[in-house]
Amino acid sequence: MPLLILLRATYRVAWKDVVGDWRRRATLSSMLFFAIAVLVVFQVAFDPDRQEATRLLPGLLWATVLFTSLMGLGRVFQAEEEDGGLEGLLLASVPRGVLFFGKWLGNLLLTVLVELLLLPLTLVLFNVDVWGQLPALIGVLLLGTLGLTGLGVLLAAMTQTARSRETLLALLLLPLTAPLLIAGVQAMAGLLDPSLELGSWMRLLVIFDVVYLALAPWAFGWLVAE
């Protein structure tokens, strides 16, 4: 099939999800507010002083990102449930990997948007003065998000037809992302504190991204095939 057609189909799937969310203002706003609620809880619960806050920052950010994206993932396939479920998508004549990439792109965009808003907010809320590192922090966050959303969309597809799928999705995603989470937390800690290791954790992050994103479309096609 010509590449152009595949690209157009990928774009269209992503477009549909993003436009849908935009029109209903559903996922984005609930993700953002959820993230803020989590931050507030952490702030109240831990009430860290300034030095502690710098130490806890990577963990805070990653935990919030993880739970927030979990919330977004629960909705990735919700639009498909409206009238006939995934069925309609699966009748498309483009290869199924394309559907995966479209879904992934849409989810990635939303998650990244939330992260971009979340990061400065966290710095303000926890009163941590690392604004100079902001671009680098964003970089690490994005790197981790690539793999996280890739794996997440795959798992969401897997559990889409399952019973009580939200619980299941969360149950499966958390243990699988644990290595990614460790690498992300450590890399960010390395950024904030030069005495800590950075390079090898970054490399690990990249490896995870590549592996998940290479395997996922293939696994997706497999899973949804009847």
Partner: protein, 219 residues
């Protein structure tokens, strides 16, 4: 060889066996109506032919492509409109059709899409999200996909339900044109009289097998 051939097709959902050796073959330009009581397996058969369900046992070929290996080629050549409309509530009619076209690799022609929306009488609503459409309006839009391309095979599951009198007339005219151009139609319906003057063959699904529909009582 016939354009569509189904041989000894079986299907069971877990412990419940629904199809039990279905045989069917269709030629270009042919229209067949599937009859059968509620739960007899009509929708299941259509789902198998649309490749939505995996062939468990038996063979199904469309234009020489086999469902077991070449699902994509088959999907490329068919259109399925079932009980569900597969429309996205937050998109407008035009956007819904464009979505369908892109996912079927059809060339993007805004004029064709607009014409299809107009043909089913929805131009007044072309800027509104589909979510609040009435049952018949949704059905019309789902059927409008037929105007976007000429598939080999058209699978319809109770296409007349929810359509008003004009809707039925429009559908029959479109089916007529489609058949003339060599398409094949297989539809499940409880009310074959709605086809009116459209030439068609009746098939009855009973105990998991297909037989000629006219032979038996009209039940």
């Amino acid at each position: 060889m016939a354009l569509l051939t189904v041989q000894d097709l079986h299907h069971a959902f877990g412990r419940h066996r629904v199809l039990n050796g279905v045989e069917l073959s269709m030629e270009a330009g042919e229209c067949a109506v599937l009859l059968g009581s509620n739960g007899s397996g009509k929708s299941t058969l259509l789902a198998l032919l649309s490749t939505r369900l995996r062939v468990q046992k038996g063979h199904y070929q469309l234009a020489g492509y086999s469902a077991a290996q070449q699902g994509e080629e088959i999907r490329h050549r068919l259109l399925f409109v079932g009980h569900h409309t597969h429309l996205y509530g937050h998109l407008t009619p035009l956007e819904n059709l464009r979505f369908f076209a892109d996912l079927h690799g059809l060339p993007p022609q805004p004029a064709t899409l607009a014409a299809a929306v107009a043909a089913v009488g929805l131009q007044r609503f072309s800027e509104q999200p589909v979510r609040w459409f009435s049952a018949g309006m949704r059905k019309r839009l789902a059927l409008a996909r037929l105007l976007l391309f000429q598939p080999l095979l058209l699978l319809l599951d109770e296409p007349y339900s929810a359509l008003d009198v004009q809707g039925v007339a429009w559908l029959n005219a479109s089916l007529d044109r489609f058949l003339q151009q060599g398409g094949m139609v297989l539809m499940a319906s409880h009310d074959p009289e709605r086809l009116e003057s459209l030439p068609h063959r009746l098939l009855r699904l009973q105990r998991g097998q297909l037989s000629d529909g006219r032979e038996e009582c009209p039940c």
